[in-house]
């Protein structure tokens, strides 16, 4: 399994390296790879249906519970077959579809990577590993939706789906970590084994909700459903692959995967079906009045996803069986319908139902494919869809809890779905042609091969469903249900309540579609009424919220990052002063070990001179006076150093101060006079801030007097200065011997500064 994934990822990168002549056929080549994978998976069917999953385990970071764990059992096999099988047909289709676009290398690269990530996802049995693949598909879907990135709507849609699914992804990760902490493992087996413990834990509900957040965003459940119709900006192969058959099913997959570990509780059987029912209803309801071909399909996909989530949530044997079956049914008809929609858009240049019509004559084969697929969607015999619908009805009738309600909504949603299917058949293919299209027929083989195969499968399995049931659905069911189950699938169930319901659905649906097709104005009215009843448009709310969020961030940033240098300094100083005062307050109550005295008087006098010079520097308006007064301060300090036994400091201070004053004087003539830039109030404010800081520093200095430096170091220097370094002046010895490397660093700084000064002063004035 791991080898397969590695092959996938290597080949995906390899696309870029192909020679040009082969590159032209890359779609077909990738389809062949997928077909090979499909065959490989199919060859495992017999082995796995005997309840023998294939397991691959490797240590990664066992200390953290992170291991590489792959599992191929009934459930992952069912999904893997879908991913590789639909993948093959989609890549065949994409080969023709993408021919007219540039940068197809990139497209195929992303799509190929995606199918690899998807396979990795369905085969992962370590939850963290699964999460990594999960996010990988999210990122790739962003690139695929935004393939036409020169269109703003496409970028927006891609961004929207990215934000929503990432948001859910974070929830999923948090949920995995929460539940993982209960059983102290991220391995699926441990979760299932510790199922009872998890369900009793207080972390169960928050963990479940967070995981469901991930599931619902990925699988476009209400209230996150709106990203899916928006994502129809993607090229048709992407819609067919990601947004019908694979990625949006990842949430459903996870739900089924975790059902043995987390399912069956009161919370599960309430929350999951609830969102499923709502999603199912909205999907089918909004599909009816749309006019964009792909958006109609997107809404029907939402409907299907709702049904799947609902069925897994009901959690009876029958409902699981219906879910697995419906998974296949939907993948078959929806992927082909998306491909047909892409084909129609490509040939006619529009997806608008009002501009299409009578395409039966121009594209007879496509019509045949679409007809079969739509029949399956409507749930009519002899397609597999009929079987599914019957089973779903049965499951809903028998569902515990608020079953009758679910069941009524189910019928309503199916009536809508029937009407949608009929509306598509009549509006797009029958009726009067609105335009004439001349198409060469040979070129379209590739276009119809993919969807044709899928629809054919749907038909074959519809007539003889037992192969599908025995080899694929039973093993998958057994995994979800955690015990061996047998599902008997029949096309004909005999005369019973369910069949009666089906007939009623068809009758009501036919009536509804008849009205819609014949009377355009009703449809128009309906759309208007919808706008009034449902005034909230989710995508708009989303972008509005996002815009507000960004706007708030911008305004906050503007307050913080205003660009005024002195306010930055003001902020820094104020915070430092506040922290200092706080610390001084916490450590109050210390005593002073030294007496307050002005002795000796000449030092006190010196301090007075320094203070006056400092004040003069601050207050004077003359630059020369300011600099000289500043010099006085520096020289005064050197005298203090000298008096208190720091000869070297005094010398250095004098030299440095002299150099600084000279440098100031040198450039002074080139500089402007001090401008009066600040208002009086500003000056007072600055003075207050400076005083707060200065007084804190005075207290710090007084406190510091009582603190001893680490004497052993100094003692070592004192003791060894003469004997080992042969120097009498300890300060000098420290600088040039004990800490010579530090001094080397200091010299380096000076050299760099000197170089910088030299470059700055010698560079020519830029031309203005």
């Amino acid at each position: 399994m791991l080898n397969l994934l590695i092959i996938y990822f290597l080949l995906a990168v390899g696309i870029f390296l192909l020679p040009k002549s082969i590159k032209l056929q890359k779609g077909v080549l990738i389809a062949v790879v997928h077909l090979a994978a499909f065959i490989w998976f199919a060859s495992k069917i017999q082995f796995i249906s005997a309840e023998k999953p294939i397991i691959l385990f490797a240590h990664w970071i066992p200390e953290l519970g992170l291991n590489i764990e792959f599992l191929l059992d009934g459930l992952s096999l069912a999904f893997a077959l879908l991913v590789s099988g639909i993948g093959a047909s989609v890549f065949l289709y994409a080969h023709s579809y993408m021919k007219s676009y540039d940068y197809t290398d990139k497209f195929f690269f992303f799509l190929f990577l995606f199918s690899g990530a998807m396979l990795g996802l369905v085969m992962s049995s370590n939850l963290i590993q699964l999460f990594i693949f999960w996010e990988f598909t999210t990122v790739l879907s962003f690139f695929l939706i935004s393939f036409f990135h020169e269109k703003e709507v496409a970028r927006k849609a891609a961004f929207q789906s990215l934000v929503i699914t990432f948001f859910g992804g974070l929830g999923l990760l948090a949920g995995i970590l929460l539940i993982g902490s209960v059983v102290d493992s991220y391995s699926l087996n441990d979760w299932i084994a510790g199922s009872e413990k998890i369900k009793e834990s207080s972390l169960y509900l928050p963990g479940l909700l967070l995981i469901l957040l991930g599931v619902f965003t990925k699988s476009a459940q209400f209230p996150f459903h709106f990203w899916l119709p928006e994502a129809m900006q993607a090229p048709a192969p992407v819609s067919a692959y990601l947004h019908s058959a694979t990625m949006v099913k990842a949430g459903v997959f996870l739900l089924a995967r975790l059902s043995p570990a987390l399912g069956g509780t009161a919370e599960w059987t309430f929350i999951v079906p609830l969102f499923g029912v709502i999603t199912m209803l909205i999907g089918s309801y909004f599909a009816i009045t749309q006019t964009d071909l792909k958006i109609i399909l997107a809404y029907t996909t939402i409907n299907a996803l709702g049904i799947l989530v609902l069925l897994i949530g009901i959690d009876t044997r029958l409902s699981i069986k219906a879910a697995v079956l419906f998974l296949f049914i939907h993948a078959f008809y929806k992927a082909s319908l998306f491909m047909v929609a892409g084909f129609i858009e490509k040939k006619t240049g529009t997806r608008d139902l009002n501009e299409l019509g009578g395409l039966k004559k121009s594209f007879p084969i496509t019509f045949g494919i679409a007809l079969l697929a739509l029949l399956s969607m409507a749930g009519l015999p002899p397609m597999l869809g009929f079987l599914g619908k019957e089973l779903i009805y049965e499951a809903k009738v028998q569902s515990p809890g608020f079953g009758s309600l679910i069941f009524i909504f189910g019928v309503i949603s199916n009536i809508f779905m029937f009407a949608v299917s009929m509306r598509l058949i009549f509006k797009v293919f029958l009726g009067k042609p609105k335009n004439s299209y001349n198409v060469s027929k040979i070129k379209n083989v590739m276009f119809v091969l993919g969807p044709g195969l899928l629809v054919l499968l749907s038909l074959i399995f519809g007539i003889s469903p037992n192969f599908l049931g025995k080899w694929i659905i039973d093993p998958a069911m057994s995994v979800i249900y955690a015990e061996p189950v047998k599902a008997e699938l029949k096309l004909w169930h005999g005369f019973n309540l369910v069949l009666f319901l089906s007939l009623a659905t068809v009758a009501a649906g036919a009536l509804l579609s008849y009205i819609l097709i014949k009377k355009d104005w009703i449809e128009e009215k309906w759309r208007k009424i919808n706008k009034i009843i449902f005034p909230v448009r989710f995508p708009e709310v989303f972008s509005y919220a996002l815009e507000k969020f960004v706007a708030i961030s911008v305004s906050k940033t503007k307050v913080m990052q205003h660009g005024y240098h002195r306010y930055y300094i003001l902020t820094i100083i104020l915070f430092t002063a506040a922290l200092l005062w706080l610390q001084l307050y916490f450590t109050r109550g210390w005593h002073l070990e030294t007496s307050i005295t002005f002795q000796p008087f000449y030092i006190s006098g010196l301090v007075l001179i320094i203070v006056l010079a400092t004040l003069f520097t601050v207050l004077t308006r003359s630059r020369i006076a300011a600099i000289i007064a500043m010099g006085v301060t520096g020289y005064g300090l050197s005298l203090i150093f000298l008096y208190y036994s720091a000869v070297d400091l005094a010398i250095t201070q004098i030299l440095a101060e002299t150099l600084m004053v000279v440098m100031f004087m040198l450039i002074l003539q080139r500089l402007p006079v001090f401008a009066r830039l600040s208002a009086k109030a500003t000056k007072i404010r600055d003075l207050i801030v400076a005083s707060i800081f200065g007084s804190a520093m005075t207290l710090v200095a007084i406190k510091a007097i009582n603190v001893d430096f680490n004497n052993p170091i100094s003692e070592y220097f004192m003791a060894n200065s003469y004997d080992k370094a042969f120097g009498k002046n300890v300060v000098n010895v420290i600088l040039v011997d004990f800490r010579a490397l530090d001094t080397l660093g200091e010299v380096t700084v000076l050299v760099v500064a000197a170089l910088g000064v030299s470059v700055l002063l010698n560079s020519k004035k830029p031309k203005t």
Partner: protein, 116 residues
């Protein structure tokens, strides 16, 4: 005397911060120098003041505890030199800056590109 010098440290810091908050770049540089001086004095002061006994030793010294602590002195000496290097560099930068922009006002420094 320590307390008097501590107050001097506070005054130097006050002057330094006040000058840092001015818009004139020249004053800003003077502020940096004051801050540097104040910090040097603070470190020097914290080692304790000893009059007339610099850390000079020969082989016979026994009263090393009564000599001035050489370590803070070495630190401050390094700080003075580095401070000098920094101030000189900033001055040169300031000179260039004024030559190019013709302003001494820090508030004019908001844009990275010249506005023309």
């Amino acid at each position: 005397m320590e307390v008097v010098l501590a107050i001097l440290v506070g005054i130097l810091y006050t002057a330094g911060v006040y000058m840092l908050l001015r818009r004139s770049i020249l004053k800003f540089i003077i502020g940096i120098i004051f801050m540097g001086n104040a910090t040097n004095l603070l470190v020097f002061l914290s080692a304790g003041l000893i009059h007339g006994s610099p850390a000079f030793v020969d082989g016979t010294t026994t009263n090393s505890a009564q000599l001035a602590d050489p370590l803070p002195q070495a630190l401050v000496l390094t700080a003075i030199v580095i401070g000098l290097g920094m101030v000189v560099f900033i001055l040169a930068l300031k000179y260039k800056f004024f030559e190019v922009t013709g302003t001494d006002d820090l508030d004019q420094l908001k844009q990275t590109d010249s506005q023309k």
